[in-house]
Amino acid sequence: MRPRARPALLWLMVIGLLILGWGPSTGAAPARGTKIVVGIDTDPPSLDGHSNTALSSDLLFAHLYDRLVGFDMQGRIVPELATQWSVSSNGLTWTFKLRQGHKFHDGTPVNAAAVKANFDRLFDPRNPFSRRTLFEMIKRIDAIDDTTIAFTTDKPFGAMLNQLANPSASIVSPTAAAKQDVNTFGRYPVGSGPFFFREWVRGTRIVLQKHRAHWLAEQTNVTEIEFRPIPDDATRAIGLETGELDFVTTIAPQEARRLGSNPNLVVYNLPRSRIQGLYPNVTKKPWSDVRVRQAMAHAIDKKAIVDTFLAGFARVADSPLPPGVFPYKPQTVRFDYDPERAKRLLAEAGYPNGFSATMWVPVGTYAAAQQISEAVAEMLKKVGITLKLEVMESGQWLVLLRSKGPRESTLDMTYYGWGTQTGDADYALRLVFHTDNFAPACCNRNFYSNTELDGLIDRGLSSTNPQERRAAYERAQEILWRDQVWVWIFTVNHSAVGNKALTAVRLLPTELIHFREASVAR
């Protein structure tokens, strides 16, 4: 009887194994060739080169598209689509000479008409591109001949080239963009960059393939890039160690430090023009009182935060501008850790017993945001300020932050950061602090308004004389710092990690990371 009984069990096992074994490709990792896999933290909202930029989009733009000019790793302007440029003696007209014979991925020639069509699209009020404010000083665009294009401004504009090197000035294929509506183009983008779009599976991967007709094609042996959104830092780190990922664009400093000891990996700790801090709505009590903001600055032990959460990858902020942004100047007025002083300032402001407030904490946008916020809350508690932390998903947070003007905004305070993607003070200051840029127009989302500051920012914008610009921006930094318009805490570096075999990755001081020139060593 024994033999008859066994098959029942055996069959179950066999069927189980069959079911288990059924499935796509088993076993060993496939040969990679020169495909590289890059771990990123979030899926980009859109791949439309003109859309509002998130860092995750910029990263993709850098490969799908070219701009007229770009940055190198020192933050200098270098040619991309434009090979030469000049500015007229009155400082109003910028003329660019375009690269000959370059084509978009769909075959459309990259010529002056195509570039002009791009700016027309960007400026079209029916299109939802809020970053057009970056280019609003451009009053006229002329396609002089097939490869020459001229931009005319109404006033001299000092940061013209920096602005055109911004990812939002990416040049998209005008034929492809005209064929699709403005929402679907962001899903199926066509550009002229060194890689073309192949596939986007939301939340899983974006795959780009080499554009062989690109002028950089000879320089690099990378034939395919896969960007993989992985929200969790630890998981990205493990991916690097197991070789699933060749590069991770951002990773928690603790992880980066640990990965540094792995002989196969390289840690990139390079300047990045990003500043982080607390962002109070200055139209609301108690933040409307400058003494309250100064008190917070004294109540926070910034050095402890930097040492604990960002060791080696950040430094305590000493100006509203991060080092590396023109013209950064460290401030002499200091807001050192001094809880007693903070309490005095609060008492002077009429809050001897402190107060309660809510702070938004976006998840997955900034390194260690939640931990830093909890630490800040504990420090502020010691001077009587009770912070209720409202942790929220970054998408919801952005919408809350972006879409409302000073009257309707529900912002009390948030943990916040700003990266200067042009390396120039105009971007760092005008967008964030000028009264004209109150949300929802742009990015003055805590509604600070100061006519002297507006004047200085305007003067910096409308001058092409570096000395004059420097003077205006240095004064602007003093005002902002004294007013503690944000409670600035630290400036932070790139903390990226890559496989040693991957070379010539570019990490720009403007925050952007790209693989346009990258190669894999065999």
């Binding site: 009887m1 024994r2 008859r4 009984a5 029942a8 069990l9 179950l12 096992m13 069927i15 189980g16 194994l17 079911i19 288990l20 499935g23 796509p24 490709s25 088993t26 076993g27 909202p45 929402n183 599976v201 939301r202 939340g203 899983t204 993989r228 992985i230 929200p231 969790d232 998981t235 493990i238 991916g239 160690e241 197991t242 699933e244 998840v363 929220m392 998903e393 998408g395 919801q396 919408v399 809350l400 879409s403 409302k404 529900t410």
Partner: protein
Amino acid sequence: MLAFLMRRLGEALLTIIGLTLVVFLSLHLAPGDPAALIAGNQATEAELAIVRERFGLNDPLPVQYANWLARVARGDFGTSHFGERPIGPDLMHAFPISLSLALGGLVVAVVIGIPVGVIAAARRDGPLDLTVMGSAVAGMSMPVFWVALLTILLFSVRLGWLPSSGWGTFAHAILPVFSVSLASLALLARMTRSLMVELLLEDFVRTARAKGLANRGVFYRHALRNALPPLATVIGLRLGLLVGGAVITETVFAIPGIGRLMVQAVNLRDFPVVQGGVLLIALVVIAVNFLVDLSYLVLDPRVRYT
């Protein structure tokens, strides 16, 4: 036979109708304005008016319900208020992934759990049985997300054998499927054992033995066959838990399934996605329960034409 089928089918349909009603009403039971839930809590009054118009929120509830049902039946789950895109394709892409995760977990639980239970019953009250049953209670008590983290810690981090995130290859599926299955596996092993032990004491098995069948033959042929119907019920009931486990496991392993989609949607208060996700999952659970009922016909000789 036919009558039995029709009755079960009718019950399943009734449950589905009740379910759609619950899912539909949940949006309207929520405090505040359903339009605000759809449009996001930062929409302006003008935007809300557009939303009410577009989603027919000015209609009486029964009309709205009928319209919504008709749209869902066509596969139109509405538009995500975040990013203004139809959510049908997103759900349809994520759904098979979650389904294979949950079903994979179920298969592993059945394939390992039942034999383990049988073996434990055969060695009743011996050290093996006690070890297996002890581990089973422990396995049932471990939260799935903790199991998932521990497996990552061991197999990805320490040993480097398996990938810790993503989906698509067999290797990617091993850790998540194991995590999802553990609790059900433990429960099935326990159930199988206790059923088998009990059945072995029953008359018909004794009779069979008396008729001269050797110990093992009796054991498998009669006991296991009689244990299958209650086991099938449990398997059906477990599916809900497996799906719940899959929701969490997807988050741990960064698997782009429906659970991760829904959790993100909750964070965004993107209600149409939550609604669509719940409906899809619930439909599968109901369908499986229906299949379990049908399986009685095959498995249990006593249930016929009733």
